[in-house]
């Protein structure tokens, strides 16, 4: 015989399981609160979120959409339009390698091949040790001192294969 007093309440899940850490969730909301009242707030908020937690995951898209009274599709559309916003966690450092013409004229294609081989990855991925995420970029404005790359926000010029190995070597040696 069933006992009616043991009726269970099953919560309705309206959002996908939340993979964001609680602290990250709080920071996303904090950024939204801080920036949402300015005109055209979405890009500043996306920058703020990526600065705060390193990426803009779909869980953050839900929160931002709620705060700005936009649909998730609208926010998702903006996030994916821009190359800079990332939807997955990056490695400890992000290396943007220039692929544009001025760097090509000084061997950027060879440097790109060397970088991919050394790190064992293609663009948009992270080395196995979690140290480096490799991204392409189309011009860093260092066109007279190519080939160029940027490590996080630090611009580097005249990057030979050897200099690349030195720069990356020091990043990989860091203790995480």
């Amino acid at each position: 015989m069933t006992n009616t007093s043991e009726r269970r309440v099953i919560p309705i899940q309206t959002e996908p399981p939340d993979a964001l850490r609680l602290a990250e969730r709080a920071r996303v909301l904090e950024v939204c609160t801080q920036l949402k009242d300015q005109p055209g707030a979405l890009l500043p908020i996306l920058h703020g979120v990526q600065n705060a937690i390193g990426f803009v995951p779909s869980e953050a898209v839900v929160l931002i959409a709620g705060e700005l009274n936009l649909s998730r599709a609208e926010v998702h559309g903006v996030v994916t339009f821009y190359h800079y916003f990332r939807t997955r966690r990056a490695g400890r450092h992000v290396v943007h390698l220039c692929r544009a013409e001025a760097c090509q004229a000084l061997g950027a294609a060879d440097l790109e091949a060397h970088a991919k081989k050394t790190l064992g990855i293609d663009f948009h991925s992270t080395s196995a040790d979690g140290a480096v995420t490799l991204e392409p970029v189309y011009c860093l404005g260092n066109c007279a001192l190519g080939p160029a790359l940027m490590i996080d926000t630090e611009l580097k010029g005249r990057v030979s294969a050897q200099r690349f190995d030195e720069l990356i070597g020091s990043l990989r040696k860091e203790v995480s």
Binding site: L43, G77, A105, Y138, C139
Partner: protein, 524 residues
Amino acid sequence: MKPVRIFVPRDAAARSVGADETARAIAEEAGRRGIEVHLVRNGSRGMLWLEPLVEVESDGKRYGFGPIQAAQVADLFDQGFCEPSTAAARAHASAHGPTEDLAYFKRQERLSFARVGIIDPESIEAYLQHGGYAGLKTALGMQPAQIVESVTASGLRGRGGAAFPAGIKWKTVLGAPGDQKYIVCNADEGDSGTFSDRMLMEGDPLTLVEGMTIAGIATGATRGYIYLRWEYPDAHRALETAIGAAYAAGYLGANIQGSGKRFDLEVRLGAGAYICGEETSLLESLEGKRGQVRFKPPLPALAGLFGKPTVINNVITFASVPIILERGAPFYQHFGMGRSRGTLPMQLAGNIKRGGLVEVAFGMTLRELLYDFGGGSLSGRPIRAVQVGGPLGAYLPESQFDTPLDYEAFAAIKAMLGHGGVVVFDDTVDMAAQARYAMEFCAVESCGKCTPCRIGSTRGVEVIDRLTSGTNAAAQEVLLRDLCETLTYGSLCALGGLTPFPVLSALDHFPEDFDKTPRARASA
């Protein structure tokens, strides 16, 4: 003894090859030797092959030493570089004598870059001492229509690439009804081979702030945005500092220098989309949307940012305004040739021995720029092709190097001057690969609004691949030219519309590179 003034650039390009380390080494070495040094972090002089270029001041002159890596600093002190005019210091292998006597620098006509590399960009006092805000002062004593008239009379054309007369844009905004108007600066300098915007924003950011403020007063706009690409973090810091200083000194805000005029300014960051350098796409992005191109009309001057009348100009356009107001339209108009008036900061990039920034009046030939200034290729091999005007600019063969730097002269050879970037390639370049890259770039960066650009660019890569592999080559070439025509006439904006420039110029001037069949290689 007075402390020795030593300048080490804080420009991102200089830092990319070790300027911070050099500056630190100088401070440490001076401390060790008990020499009192006043270290100034200036912008770059634009002679980028000499970076890090250390300058030491003596008797009002600045003596250049470069490139100087941190490891060479002790040796410089040993040679007495703190007294740079002495024979011993001048005998140093890296000594160049007074920087301003170097031919590369001396031959330039620096108007918008007059202060870049000279002053500490973080100091509003230095800006004022070097003639800063003289243009604004003049503007505050004029009627808005007079300011617009002055800009029109100067002949200043938009320096972003399209070369539209700035005065006409301003006049439209001045005459447009609207409770709120905006000034927007396009600092999304995405063209490969260009870095003049970056150098100006890092080396003399207040010139841009002043130019935008004048634009606001001239058109009745009270709010400005600088749309800056994320790839320029150093410029971002420099602009934030400059804007903060301008507010503190009463050059921005509710009552500019007691005039009762208001102008507020802030920086917004882009997020890695080349298309956002296109003005309507930039406005969409500023509004917090995908950077998709808008139909024109309505013109941004009538319905721009948030649907309001908006002046949108490039960094160098705004930075040219203060001197026009300060010295008068005839002064500026006097430089240049034909309908291209004033100066254009050219940027020498790629495989070039002396790469850097060269601000000259319109009219100099490309050859003078490449050889007299640039000194030929970095590799020492012959220069085979030069791409002028960014990734949408044509590739020019040696036979076209005598073209003068002038908007119309370039248009006449189906090329464009654009934002003034010159990318040099030596004879190892594969022009078919460059043509393929142009299509690939268009495919990566297309906003997706127009079919010819969105799909045509991908098809273009495929057609070039078939062409170079020799699969029915003659028919592929017909197809490629047809596709380029569709792109040219079927795209809303310059990305799709101009991608055929690099593709067809490569095909027309370097057809031999497209035939990669074994027979062609054997006969080559």
